[in-house]
C-alpha cells in the first residue's frame, strides 16, 4: 500500500484519481455526498430560499402596516406572518447561511480538504432542510407559530395556544438546532486540528479566529435554547409545569433561557460577517489587516461579554435595578470591541491603497447602516431609555439596522467577493451598482422611519393602529421604501443569475488576495488541494499563484491517494506541526437515513404519536452505530508517509484526534444544558410564585446510595478498560451493566420520588433531572456495549483504543452527571420545604 504514492502522478492523473474518491457521484448518488463543497453550497442555497420566503412575509407585513386600520390581514394571520418572518430570518436564514459559507470556505482558508466530520455536515444539512420544511409546511397549512419569534410563555403554552402552532416552532427549530450544534463542534475541531502544516494559531487567517469564537459561542449558546424548548414542549405535551405560574413555574424562566441564547445569537450572526469584512477589506486596501492581535483579543472579550447581557431584553419584567445594572454595563462595554474592529478597518484602509469595487460598496453599506444600529443599540442598553423604547417599532428599526447592516450587507460583499470562487466567473457589473443603491436607499427609507414611529409610541407586533395615532404617514413611507428594497433584492438575484450564466472566466486569484482559498483552480475540485500546503507566515500574506501551481503538481503533503481513502492532515493545535493523518469514512446514505429517522422522532412528537417516538429514537441510535464500522481499522499501521519524507501515525493511533476533541466539545455543550437545568430549578425556588409547594418530594436514601456505588464502579471499570489490555472486555461488560443498572435506578427514582410531576414545578424539575441522568447512563451503557462489539470484531488494539477512550470520556462524564443528579433533587426538595416566607 505504500508503493503507489512513491511513483509520482502527473497533475492531471492525480486530479482524476482524487476526484474519483472525493467527488460527488451523479444521479441519485448525489444524496450520499458528504463533500463540504456540495454541502456548503446546499446550505447557502437553501438559506437563500428561506430568505426569499422570509422577505415575502416581510412585504406582507409592510403592506398591512402601510395604512391604518388595514383589512389586508386579520390579527391571527398577521401573528403568524410576523412570527414566521422573525423565526425564518433568524433560524433558517442567517445562521444556516453563514454556516454554509463557513463549511464551504473554512477548509480552503485553512489549507485542508474538508471539515473534520463530513458525514456530520451532511447529516446537519438534512436536519436543517427537514426542520425548516416542517415550519414552511405549517405556514402553508395556516397553522404556523404565532406567539412571536421568542415564543413567550404563557402565550405559547397549551392553555393559550392549544393548537399545533407552538409545537411546530419548538420541534422544528430544535430539529434545525441539531445542525447548528453539530456545525459548531465541527468548525471548532476543524480549526484546531485540520490546518495546513506550519499554520500555528497566530498564523491563521483572521476569518478562522472569528469562526473559532463564533463556534464556541454557539456551543454554549444553543444548549439553553434547546433545553428551554424541550421543557416547554414537555409542559405543552405532558403538563410538566416549568413555566406555569399557577403550579410553581415561572414565565420568566423561559425568558432567561431564551435570551441566554438569544443575545449571544446576535453576535453569532454578526461575527462571521465581520470576519468576512476582515478578510475582504484588506484585499481591497492592498495591505494586511491592521491590529490582528488586538482584534483577536477583542473577539474573545466580546464573546464573554455577549453572554453577560441577555437581561437587556428583560428590562421591563420587574427585575431590580441593581441586577439590570450588571447587564446594562456589560451591554455598554460590548460596544468597545466592536469599535476596536471598526477602527482597525479604518486604519487598514488609511494605510493602504484602497481600490473601490462592488464588494467595497457593500462594505460601505455595512459601515453606514451598522454604525447607526450600533448607536441605537447603546441607547437601548441604557435602562431608562429602554423602558421607553422597548417593544416599540424603535426596536424593530434597531434590530434591522444591526442584522441587515451587520449581516446582510457584509454577506452581499462576501457573495460578490467569493462568487467568482464558486462559479469560476467574474461579475460583469451592470446591475450590481443599481441593485446596491436600491437596497441601500430602500432599506434606510423603510427602517429609519420606524425609529420615529417607535418613539411616537407605536408598539411592535400590532396588526392595526388607530387613524388618529399620527403614525400613518411614516408607516406609508416605510412601506414604500420596503418595495424599493425588495426590487433591489430582485435585481441582486438577477445579477447573480447573470453572473452564473454570462460571467467572464478568469485565470486565478482575481482580487489579488493572499489567502489559501485562491491557491486552487476555480471552481474548486471536490478535494480542494491536490496536495496540502505548508505555510511559513501569516496565512493572509501568501502568494496563491505560486502556491497553487506547486500544490497542483503534488509538491505538498499527501499528494497521492492511499487505499482509495480520503485522507488529510491533522496538526498540533498550537504550533501547527503535522501530527497524524485523518482517514475519512466513505460517502454514504447513512447521514440522510439518520436524518430521516431523526425526523421521525420530531414528527411523531409533533403529531402526538408518542408510541412511535421511542421506536424512532432507537432507530436513530442504531443508525448512528452503523456509522462506525467505516471509521475502524483492523490492523495497526504505526506510521504513514505523508510525502516530503515525513511520516505520522493514522488518527486512530493518535492521542488526541479530531473525534476525541469532538467528544470533549459535545460534553461541554451537554454540560451547559445540564447546568442551565439546575440553575433553572434554583431560579424557580427564588422567583416563582406558589412556592413552597403543597406536594412533597421524598427521595429515598438507600437507592441513591446503591446508584452512587454502581456509578463509581462503572467509572472505575471504564477507566480500567480503556488501555485495551487483557481484561478490557470484562471491565467493559461490568461498566455497561452497571450503567444499565443505574439507568434503571434513575427511571425508578423518577417514577417513585415524585408523586405526580404535573402537580408542581419542583416535582417536574426533580423528575426531569432524574430522566436526564437516566438518559446519560443509558447512553453510557450503549457505548459500553459498542466497545465490546468493537473489541470482538478486532477494531481495538492497545494502539487503536480510540473508541474506548472516547467512550470513557462519556462514561466518566455521565458518572458525574449521575452523581449530581442524586444530590441536586435532595437539595432542591429541602430548599423548597424550608422556603416558607
Amino acid at each position: 500500500m505504500t508503493e503507489r504514492h512513491e511513483q509520482k502522478l502527473s497533475p492531471v492523473a492525480l486530479h482524476h484519481a482524487l476526484e474519483e474518491v472525493w467527488g460527488t457521484k451523479p444521479g441519485w448518488r448525489r444524496l450520499a455526498t458528504i463533500n463540504h463543497n456540495v454541502v456548503g453550497k446546499r446550505f447557502m442555497l437553501t438559506a437563500l430560499i428561506f430568505f426569499a420566503i422570509g422577505g415575502l412575509l416581510a412585504m406582507l407585513i409592510r403592506v398591512q402596516l402601510a395604512s391604518s386600520e388595514s383589512v389586508f390581514m386579520d390579527a391571527d394571520q398577521y401573528a403568524q406572518v410576523f412570527t414566521m418572518h422573525g423565526s425564518i430570518m433568524m433560524f433558517l436564514f442567517a445562521i444556516p447561511f453563514f454556516e454554509g459559507l463557513t463549511i464551504y470556505l473554512l477548509p480552503k482558508l485553512l489549507g485542508t480538504r474538508d471539515l473534520a466530520f463530513p458525514r456530520m455536515s451532511a447529516y446537519g444539512y438534512w436536519c436543517y432542510l427537514f426542520g425548516g420544511s416542517i415550519l414552511i409546511a405549517a405556514l402553508v397549512g395556516g397553522v404556523a407559530p404565532d406567539s412571536g419569534w421568542f415564543m413567550y410563555t404563557p402565550l405559547s403554552s397549551s392553555t393559550y395556544a392549544p393548537g399545533i402552532n407552538s409545537d411546530v416552532w419548538l420541534l422544528g427549530i430544535t430539529f434545525v438546532e441539531i445542525s447548528a450544534l453539530s456545525a459548531a463542534i465541527e468548525i471548532i475541531v476543524t480549526i484546531l486540528k485540520l490546518r495546513a502544516a506550519g499554520m500555528s494559531l497566530d498564523r491563521m487567517p483572521i476569518f478562522a479566529w472569528y469562526m473559532l469564537v463564533v463556534a464556541t459561542m454557539m456551543l454554549v449558546g444553543f444548549p439553553p435554547l434547546i433545553l428551554g424548548s424541550i421543557l416547554l414542549e414537555l409542559e405543552r405535551a405532558f403538563d410538566l409545569p416549568f413555566f406555569d405560574p399557577t403550579h410553581g413555574g415561572d414565565p420568566l424562566l423561559w425568558q432567561h433561557l431564551f435570551w441566554l441564547f438569544g443575545h449571544p445569537e446576535v453576535y453569532i450572526i454578526f461575527l462571521p460577517a465581520a470576519g468576512a469584512i476582515s478578510t475582504i477589506l484588506p484585499v481591497f486596501a492592498s495591505t494586511p489587516l491592521a491590529g490582528y492581535r488586538i482584534i483577536v483579543a477583542a473577539l474573545v472579550s466580546m464573546a464573554f461579554l455577549s453572554f453577560g447581557l441577555w437581561v437587556h431584553h428583560m428590562y421591563t419584567t420587574g427585575i431590580p435595578h441593581v441586577a439590570l445594572s450588571f447587564f446594562s454595563a456589560a451591554s455598554a462595554l460590548v460596544a468597545v470591541p466592536t469599535a476596536i474592529q471598526i477602527f482597525a478597518w479604518l486604519a487598514t484602509i488609511s494605510h493602504g491603497r484602497p481600490r473601490f469595487s462592488i464588494p467595497m460598496l457593500h462594505i460601505f453599506g455595512f459601515f453606514f447602516v451598522f454604525v447607526i444600529g450600533g448607536l441605537t443599540g447603546v441607547m437601548l442598553a441604557m435602562v431608562p431609555f429602554d423602558w421607553q423604547a422597548h417593544d416599540t417599532h424603535f426596536v424593530v428599526a434597531h434590530l434591522h439596522y444591526v442584522l441587515v447592516g451587520g449581516f446582510v450587507f457584509p454577506m452581499m460583499a462576501a457573495a460578490y467577493y467569493w462568487l467568482p470562487h464558486i462559479t469560476g466567473r467574474q461579475p460583469v457589473q451592470h446591475l450590481s451598482q443599481a441593485a446596491f443603491w436600491m437596497i441601500f436607499i430602500g432599506f434606510n427609507v423603510t427602517f429609519f422611519m420606524m425609529h420615529l414611529t417607535g418613539l411616537r409610541g407605536m408598539p411592535r407586533r400590532v396588526f392595526e393602529y388607530p387613524r388618529e395615532s399620527g403614525w400613518e404617514t411614516l408607516n406609508f413611507i416605510s412601506s414604500l421604501g420596503s418595495f424599493v428594497m425588495a426590487m433591489g433584492f430582485a435585481l441582486l438575484a438577477l445579477d447573480f443569475i447573470l453572473l452564473f450564466r454570462f460571467g467572464r472566466r478568469y485565470h486565478r486569484n482575481p482580487w489579488k488576495a493572499g489567502t489559501l482559498e485562491w491557491a486552487m483552480p476555480t471552481p474548486p475540485a471536490s478535494y480542494n488541494f491536490a496536495s496540502l500546503p505548508s505555510v511559513d507566515r501569516r496565512a493572509d500574506q501568501l502568494d496563491p499563484n505560486m502556491l497553487g501551481a506547486q500544490l497542483a503538481a503534488g509538491e505538498g503533503y499527501l499528494g497521492f491517494l492511499r487505499d482509495d481513502r480520503m485522507e488529510l492532515l491533522a496538526v498540533n493545535i498550537v504550533s501547527g506541526e503535522p501530527e497524524h493523518v485523518v482517514r475519512f469514512p466513505r460517502q454514504s446514505y447513512l447521514p440522510l437515513l439518520t436524518a430521516v429517522a431523526t425526523g421521525g422522532v420530531f414528527g411523531s412528537l409533533l403529531l402526538k404519536l408518542y408510541w412511535l417516538t421511542p421506536l424512532a429514537f432507537i432507530a436513530v441510535v442504531l443508525l448512528f452505530l452503523c456509522w462506525t464500522p467505516d471509521t475502524g481499522e483492523k490492523r495497526d499501521m504505526h506510521s504513514l508517509p505523508i510525502g516530503n519524507h515525513v511520516e505520522v501515525p493514522p488518527h486512530l493511533e493518535a492521542e488526541r484526534p479530531p473525534s476525541w476533541w469532538a467528544m470533549i466539545l459535545a460534553i461541554v455543550a451537554d454540560a451547559t444544558s445540564y447546568i442551565s437545568l439546575l440553575f433553572g430549578g434554583l431560579f424557580l425556588w427564588v422567583s416563582a410564585p406558589n412556592w413552597p409547594p403543597a406536594v412533597t418530594v421524598e427521595i429515598a436514601i438507600a437507592p441513591c446510595v446503591v446508584i452512587a456505588v454502581l456509578l463509581m464502579l462503572s467509572a472505575l471499570c471504564s477507566h480500567r478498560a480503556t488501555p485495551a489490555g487483557q481484561h478490557a472486555s470484562r471491565y467493559l461488560l461490568i461498566c455497561a451493566l452497571t450503567q444499565a443498572a443505574s439507568t434503571v435506578g434513575f427511571v425508578w427514582l423518577s417514577l417513585t420520588s415524585v408523586p405526580d410531576p404535573s402537580q408542581h414545578a419542583v416535582a417536574a424539575t426533580v423528575f426531569i433531572v432524574f430522566v436526564y441522568a437516566g438518559l446519560h447512563c443509558g447512553l453510557s451503557a450503549v457505548l459500553g456495549g459498542y466497545g465490546l462489539w468493537r473489541i470482538r470484531n478486532g477494531y481495538v488494539s492497545a494502539r487503536r483504543n480510540l473508541d474506548l477512550r472516547i467512550s470513557n470520556l462519556w462514561q466518566e462524564y455521565s458518572t458525574i452527571i449521575g452523581g449530581a443528579s442524586l444530590v441536586f433533587p435532595a437539595l432542591l426538595a429541602s430548599l423548597a420545604n424550608g422556603s416558607a416566607p
Binding site: L201, D202, R293, P320, V336, V574, L682
Partner: protein, 118 residues
Amino acid sequence: MTVPPLIALIASFALWSLIFILFYAAQATGCHLVGGDNAMRMSDPYILRGVLSLCVAVASVAMLLLFLKSLRLRRQQPQQAETTSSFFSELATYVWAAALFATPFCFGGVAWLTLCGT
C-alpha cells in the same frame, strides 16, 4: 506552570463570568431571603448591600492581583518578538486588561442602585 495558551487566553474572562453568575445569584437569592422581593420595595436592605459591595471590592482587587501575577509570570519567560508564545502572551494581557476593567464597571452598581424590587 504550563497552561495551554488557549486556556490562558480565556481564563480572565472565565473568572469574570463566574463572578457575574455569583453576583446575580447572590443578589436574587439575597433579596429572596431578606423577605421576598416586594416587601423590601421602599426600605433599603443595607446589610445585603454592604455585603455585596464588599464582595465587589474584593473581587476587583483579586482580579487586579491575579492580573499582576499573570503579567509577572509572562515576563519571566524569554520572549522573542514574532513567536506563537509572544502572540499569546500579548493577547492574554489585552484580554486580562479588559476583564479587569469590566469587573468593577459591571458590578459597581450594587453600591447605590435599588437592590430589591422595582
